[in-house]
Symmetry: C2
Amino acid sequence: TKEDFDLAAIYVSDAQYNRNIFFDTSPQAVRLYLLYNHWFLKVLLYFFILVDLSLAVFEEPAVFPLPIWATMLVELLCLLVFTIRLVHYAKVIPRDKFWKDPKNICIIVILMLTLADMIIYGALKATNYYALRWSRVLRPLLLVNVTEGRQLRRAFRSIRNALPQIFYVFLLFMFSVLIFSLMALKLLGKRGLKTIDGAPYFTNYLEIVFDLYVLVTTANSPDVMMPAYNASFLFAIFFIMYILINTYIFMSVFLAVVYNNYKKYLKEEVRQLVRAKRHKMVRAFAVLQEQREEGGGPVVTQANWNQVVRLVQPDISNAHRELLWSVCDDNNQGSIGKVAFVQLADLLNIEVITLKSRPHPFHSVCPAFYLSAPSRLLCRMVQHRAFVIVYDIIILVNAIFIGLDEENPMIANSEWVFLALYLLEILLKLYVFEPRAFFSRHSFWNWFDTIIVISALIATIVNSAMKSSGGYTSRQILDIVFILRVLRLIRVVDSIKRFRTIINTLIRIGPAILTFGQLIIVVYYVFAMVGMELFKGKVKFYEKDSGNPAGAYCGNPLLQGTDFAKLNYCKNNFNNVVSSFILLVELTVVNQWHVLSSGFAAVTHVSARIFFILFHILVVIVIINIFVAFVLEAFFVEY
Amino acid sequence: TKEDFDLAAIYVSDAQYNRNIFFDTSPQAVRLYLLYNHWFLKVLLYFFILVDLSLAVFEEPAVFPLPIWATMLVELLCLLVFTIRLVHYAKVIPRDKFWKDPKNICIIVILMLTLADMIIYGALKATNYYALRWSRVLRPLLLVNVTEGRQLRRAFRSIRNALPQIFYVFLLFMFSVLIFSLMALKLLGKRGLKTIDGAPYFTNYLEIVFDLYVLVTTANSPDVMMPAYNASFLFAIFFIMYILINTYIFMSVFLAVVYNNYKKYLKEEVRQLVRAKRHKMVRAFAVLQEQREEGGGPVVTQANWNQVVRLVQPDISNAHRELLWSVCDDNNQGSIGKVAFVQLADLLNIEVITLKSRPHPFHSVCPAFYLSAPSRLLCRMVQHRAFVIVYDIIILVNAIFIGLDEENPMIANSEWVFLALYLLEILLKLYVFEPRAFFSRHSFWNWFDTIIVISALIATIVNSAMKSSGGYTSRQILDIVFILRVLRLIRVVDSIKRFRTIINTLIRIGPAILTFGQLIIVVYYVFAMVGMELFKGKVKFYEKDSGNPAGAYCGNPLLQGTDFAKLNYCKNNFNNVVSSFILLVELTVVNQWHVLSSGFAAVTHVSARIFFILFHILVVIVIINIFVAFVLEAFFVEY
Ligand code: NA
């Protein structure tokens, strides 16, 4: 029946995309489940999550302030969408499964807490009390707990599994830092040394611990050592020992522990995925199976198989489907058993590039012209190795011209020549190669080239039109023109085979980096929300031409004379979500993080450093190491 | 015959220690080869290499200047020793093998070049010309090319094998840096922005390339971005993209490539070692074999086997040797075949900890007392878990007392109490445990404890004796007392099982880190010698109390106003080999390396930066990554 085919198709599709949802098998639930998996609803969901997250841009402290009722209204709409999606999900799977799944409970709790916070906040604001939107830290957790956040949940699980081991190494590492600090206090505290600012050097134990913790991140090397080193070179040995043990050995051990757990966990997850996939395919088989002959096992006929594959992947070509069938039914019996059927999910995931040698349209339209001697010569020239080399040289010459001063009219006009040459290249290639093959899904560089060159053409025309009409040049358009011009040069990389291998590896690990990007956004968002509540408005940035003398100390007298103000870090603040994110990136890069944290400690309290140390431990020691482990593993598999 | 046994013993010993020397098998050569492998000659060789390397301390620019004739005489002595060792080696192995081995040719070339350099240098100095001791960069190569430098050669070979792949990734990375620099020039160069010093921002292409290269190392983050970020937050996106691609992705790819090659190469080397080992054992078998019975294969009798094992390892106990034999001759036939004999080299490498339950000396001397009820109670108390906990608490209390001010007489006296408690602990343990077992080779912490406590006792007594006699306290002795006191606290780590696992792993990778240490010393030494010739005397350090105003700009007016002088980096110079090494460590740590390199560029020429960039590429990108790869691999195997 139609319903059986639907059910089987769902099982196959779930197996193919590694979905792990125990849906209700009643026809109505199956229809709802098909709807639930529709790409449009998924896109809609992520769109509303994005809207919900970007509300931070418009809420106090805002980049673009909006009235409270406006942001609240949008947030209510988001909550409504999430609730509908959840209710839909509840209709799809059995009731007991729904309430046993922690991710559903999480979403319900998040929705309720958010609603409660909005009501409290609104009431307090209406009565002019101080109010805090604390539920904003929960927003990124939606990204983790929606059904589609499978990969992200896996990443968080792998972190959670690594935590106990990381924790023990961390304790040992902190013990080492504390012991070294004690030694530093005893060796250097009584020597009357001074730092470069004339402050007493290494006399306070907690300050030493902080300084030496910063030294682990290398951010205050060699400054922290200089007063002692100036007194005697023997003290340098102390610091070198410290760096060797704590920076090099312990940090490598952290990477080793994270990587080790990551690999172990990954293997376990892959094993489970394979098991679950098999299980689902077996269920699909059970729905479709027929008893063909006496004594033989149950089979699925080619007709039924075709019907299911057509339901699972409507866009698959007949030739491709027949190919898949011939792989499954290798004895040409017209039906396949369980073992052959189970492969289907993996077969569907294999991308078959069908190299159809379609003739060029010109060949069909006017073969006499297209097959004439000059035309064939042209084709051979364009396909020749020399053509690539000529264009590589053109790109290099172009690079030099870009580097030269564009005020020079000769050079400004040369841009048109280069644009024409690049356009010519694309047209020639389109003349030689079949256009649909040229713009196939896997021809990354052809797409790249065409898009960049055509954008550059449009931007350059717009730019010179504006220039010649009003004599006015838009800085933004000029910037875009420059960026496009430079991006064009990247193409040269594709001509060198070794580079292509490396770049292909990097492109292939792209999707997984996307998961990692979500992970980092979740953590950043939480820290940004907390940071904004703790530090908003404490450090202000004044435009240089505002002439306000408070700009020299970021509008906060407590910062006078600090490195933070001296280095002009005023724009590194938590005054809105954008500057918070940029600041968190700077903290991830680690360099000068002690200056940043000491700045915020100066305007609040010394314990503010805890916020920055926590960020360092969580993001740099744990998450960045996961990223490195992940690139390593991807590279070992792909390269 | 005796000679046959010697020959067989050498084969087994070579197999055991993975020596790969094709020595002459004539009796005379075998005797010379035995002598060549004597531990004393090896120690002597390394002693003279050390002397040769440390000559840099006494040569111009010297830490402790010695007249030229003195250092020259010592160096000649060293050269003589190396020559004798080489001649000895030449006598041991066949002539054609000797001349085919690149390491011997290397040593001969090094010796001849050094001699030539010494003669030229001496002649030039005698006639008061400018002279350069360029052959000093060759000295560390001896460490690589002596017969015993096997591990080091392997490390260099693994680097050389990884170089082609690293090179391609590096090219792509540099291409990316150059493209980003071009974009930065176009986007930011014409905006009239100023750096914090008021200099024009991002207007010179080569300066931008340097700045962005430094940004890859994170050393000038976020300073390099601040002028652009202050102009518009959109530019921050440019820098974040740059850091993401070049710092995170490319640096991880470097690690991946290095690690991948390291693993591949290591596997190949291990395979070769196993083959070579087998080959040598087969030759040893061929020397010892006898035809026992008709039709059976050749065998080695237990008597002969015993004789060889006794020659290979004279210190092995009879019980241990019998155990090894019973492993080989598992059928108890009194003789073993080839397959069983080949295992011997690996069996000898297995450390057998013979747990002899020897009675305590007191038990033998006066059993009545040692076995009395109070004595047994004491023993049970010391072995109880609570005893460990009590001493852990004592250590923690001790830590707090150390942290407090030692000027307070109560606290100063408490030190005696703690010392007495620690001594008591050691004595009690010696009372309970058999002393030879307590101080066995594997009881790291017992040795550690005893040495630290006894040294602390001696130092404290010396210190208070000096204090009470002349009222004078030696700062050095006090420093040693402090260090020992703090080191005592480390012992607490051993009580926690999880920590013990991690520390044991670290201790086990110790020997391999030693090889790595030699590698880094070779590279540092070469860079130190070159750096000293390029930069000696350009930057001077003045003691703070000298009152010389030139101290503010390191005695070089060219440094006035530079960050180098402002940050008081004057002691980071190439004026002698010790400060050069410390400076190179600072460069390895990377932070502020751009300030250091710009300082040396200011006092010489901007191209001096090349020296520092080369150091960064070689040491940080290649060697430190090998170190990390190596710790990762060791950790995966051991943990
Ligand atoms: Na740094």
